[in-house]
């Protein structure tokens, strides 16, 4: 047993091969490689991989950069798109504006004024909005984002009038439309909505209208009694007047 191990020991011995160090201290050359020998160059040329090119119909109108490089979409876009969806779902009032050329100072002032009313000014590009809103019920707002724009979100639809008042002082913001309580409104409709009284006032008006018809009926039924009471009142007043001059 031991003799077997002893015989296999020399083979089991490991020895490192002779090492010849090529690089010593100095910087290695990568940028200007030596031109290969012709034979080597031939082998390299033959062994270069050939990739199949996409059919010309697809790549005909693309630029060279688009053809050769594959554009990867930034995953941050998806995060922002999700944020936009969130804002759209949780705001009961959304207003869309076209933004003309405006200084940062002025837009900041508007942002502060809106913030005091719990209105949030945001702006996103058309690509992100398309990603956020495609195949959802908000798809119709995409054409509003083709040019310079901004959006105002609010959780409270009663602030429409306040928002329009603030934005009226800013000539660079042009109201295009809005979404109120999940209904897309055009510009004129949004302005009309702002001028409508609040929900309670509208309900009171409705109650008043509903009560008008039966109120009319009651008035007609009680007409005779009311006129009789009025006549008696007048008569009583006259009697008092006659009594008081007589007593004096």
């Amino acid at each position: 047993m031991t003799s077997l191990i002893q015989r296999s020991l020399p083979l089991a011995k490991t020895s490192t091969p002779a090492l010849q160090f090529l690089r010593f201290r100095g910087k290695i050359n990568i940028q200007r490689p030596k031109a290969p020998h012709y034979e080597r160059a031939r082998v390299v040329a033959v062994t270069q991989p050939k990739y199949p090119e996409a059919p010309k119909a697809k790549s005909c109108f693309k630029t060279r950069a688009e053809r050769t490089q594959q554009q990867q979409e930034n995953p941050y876009n998806e995060i922002i798109a999700r944020e936009v969806r969130n804002w759209l779902d949780h705001s009961r009032l959304v207003a869309f504006f076209h933004l003309n050329s405006i200084t940062a100072d002025d837009i900041f002032r508007v942002r502060v004024q809106l913030h005091k009313q719990n209105l949030h000014l945001k702006s996103y590009g058309s690509k992100i909005i398309e990603q956020a809103v495609k195949n959802t019920r908000y798809e119709a707002i995409v054409p509003l984002f083709h040019s310079n724009n901004c959006i105002v979100f609010s959780p409270d639809p009663q602030k429409t009038a306040a928002m329009l008042r603030i934005v009226r002082r800013v000539p660079q913001m042009v109201l295009l439309g809005g979404i109120v309580e999940e209904t897309i409104l055009s510009r004129n409709q949004l302005v009309d909505y702002a001028q409508m009284p609040g929900l309670q006032a509208a309900q009171a008006q409705l109650v008043q209208t509903l009560n008008q018809a039966p109120g009319n009926l009651i008035q007609q039924l009680q007409a005779h009694q009311n006129s009789f009471v009025r006549v008696l009142n007048v008569h009583a007043k006259n009697q008092d007047k006659e009594e008081t001059p007589e007593s004096t």
């Binding site: 076209h98 003309n100 054409p143």
Partner: protein
């Protein structure tokens, strides 16, 4: 058998630099009021909105501070249009009171080119009335009178 050279020596900068070049020559001195009417939900309004934005830039607005650019938003899917109401001298020159562009099928560059062709050309030419002379120029003019300026200099 050589073909004579034809074409451009420099490469063009693309549509953006073409728009920039047109913007530099926009002159609104002959216009009283510009009304840009569009329906934001209609198709083909992108060029109108871009044009509105470009007219609101400070450099273009500085050519005529009195000119008002009024955006009008309509809701009935009308095709977009841009109206330039001219000042009196421009009206006489052009023999029209108002110039209207139907911008539904025009892109931004074409709108600017048309604007330069029809509107900027109606700007009244400015004449230099008050030219302030520098000291050197004054001395040159008064040199013949024998150094008069130097003699009357304050102590």
């Amino acid at each position: 058998m050589s073909v004579p050279f034809s074409g451009a020596l420099r490469r063009s900068g693309g549509i953006v630099s073409a728009i920039g070049k047109q913007l530099k020559s926009v002159n609104l001195k002959g216009v009283k009021r510009i009304t840009v009417q569009f329906d934001p939900f209609a198709e083909n309004v992108k060029s109108t909105r871009e044009f509105l934005f470009l007219l609101s830039t400070p450099k273009v607005a500085a050519t005529n501070p009195k000119c008002v650019v009024k955006p009008e938003v309509v809701c009935d899917r009308q095709p977009a249009n841009i109206k330039f109401a001219l000042i009196d001298s421009a009206q006489e020159q052009a023999k029209v009171k108002e110039i209207r562009f139907n911008s539904d099928n025009l892109n931004t560059l074409e709108l600017l080119q048309l604007c330069n062709k029809h509107v900027s050309s109606l700007a009244p030419r400015e004449e230099i009335t008050n030219k302030v002379l520098t000291k050197a120029e004054k001395q040159k003019l008064a040199g013949g009178a024998g150094g008069g300026k130097k003699a009357t200099k304050k102590k």
